[in-house]
Subunit: 256 residues, 2 copies
């Protein structure tokens, strides 16, 4: 069997600490290509660049030989890497290690998750990995160890078609992490708020200042697993149809 | 009962023809606020602006009195409108009419859909509406008529919690549209491709040039309904957990 080909991306940008730790771990498992945004792209969601040209710049950093920075989003990076940079379809797409938790509804806003989604959409085993800390200097060694362990399993075990895994790691030393837990996306939510400020010219502007509410106490949920010190592993699909609502809608719209 | 309060947004920008047609129709049903991006935001997905300040500019256009343009994404517009612009929580969030179909996997990339998702996330009946034509001068009168009919039903009939509806309208005159069909998201996909070009300075750049494949022949799917001349109505949720994969993952990771 040829050496596995692993595509590494993220949304914090190719210079971030998280992607470096992840790439180093993936090199123990196969040939690694790092293709990532040339700058911070947090909260870009599943954006795709269609109205401006994309550029690919060669990027080198210590042991990362196959590095490419792109002036686009995480989804752009995965698509462009597979179409134009890699010499064959990769065996695994990994995205992260994100500086900040991507649980519950935050998956919708996450560029890290969108990169794994793109891998899944073209039939490649994929995972997103996030550390539960926004501190850019967080110790990522435990996250690295779990990234390796989980990626190894993904290379050896087929996931169901159309499914990728979303991993969230508590911000703890390796010895304090209690293990892994398979979870569901929790029903947490944001209480949206915007802080109003006045600029030096007397004009109003607004900053998003919402508060996140973990209002799901299910221990099988991603938020609670992380809070309790477990690595959370959620199987994710993008079948967005609410089949339970089909009959109700048929009765309302009396269609066909 | 007070007059319904309706929030109208989109991703094509507040100047587009589609949002104007939609706002005019919604005014027949209640008090309308139009809060939309100040410029084209297609394919932004569910992006949220967190690293720069947002500005709200008053916008007026013929009969649209309560118009506000924001230097952000569709998701920003809905959040900021509800937090800071509207005098109370709206009874309905409508997003569109988008110039271009938002079926199947395209929902992931769609700013139009993300605005409806934001409405749903805070418990408001919501819908996204898209016309199956990228021509900015398309006749939107049939789309307007269906937007009105469907919005009226949404105001009168509660949807299941956590569900919004995604509407796609064929590019046909009203007399040629065969009716409405309740559908599921289809399994179509993109064959990704990037066209390589050389700029005047001799440097390479890339344009996304993927081809969309409608490889789902189910007449109950959104793509096929539109192709067959029906208005497609899909109930959408964001429960992304693939529960069918939980046991498999538990066996692999032997957790807890």
């Amino acid at each position: 069997m040829p050496e596995p080909l692993i595509l590494v991306s993220n949304d914090d940008g190719i210079d971030s600490n998280g992607i470096y730790v992840l790439a180093m771990e993936m090199m123990k498992l196969g040939e690694v290509f790092v293709v990532a945004p040339d700058r911070q792209q947090s909260a870009v969601g599943h954006a795709l660049t269609v109205s401006k040209p994309l550029r690919i710049s060669k990027y080198q950093r210590i042991d990362i030989k196959n590095g490419f920075a792109i002036n686009g989003t995480p989804a752009d990076c995965v698509k462009l890497a597979i179409s134009r940079i890699l010499h064959r379809k990769p065996d695994l797409v990994v995205s992260g290690i994100n500086h900040g938790q991507n649980t519950s509804v935050n998956m919708l806003y996450s560029g890290t998750v969108s990169a794994a989604t793109e891998g899944m959409l073209v039939g490649i085993p994929s995972m997103a990995i996030s550390l539960s800390s926004y501190d850019l200097n967080s110790d990522m060694s435990a996250s690295g160890i779990y990234s390796y362990r989980i990626a190894k399993e993904l290379l050896e075990n087929k996931m169901p078609l159309g499914t990728f895994i979303n991993v969230n790691i508590p911000n703890l030393e390796i010895g304090k992490i209690k293990g892994m837990r398979i979870t569901k996306q929790s029903n947490s939510s944001w209480d949206d708020a915007y802080e109003k400020r006045i600029d030096p010219f007397g004009k109003e502007y607004y900053w998003f200042s919402g508060v996140y509410n973990t209002n799901d106490n299910n221990p099988e949920s991603d938020d609670i697993a992380v809070t309790e010190g477990f690595v959370s592993i959620t199987p994710v699909h993008y079948n967005l149809t609410n089949f339970d609502a089909i009959d109700k809608l048929k009765s309302i719209f009396d269609s066909d």
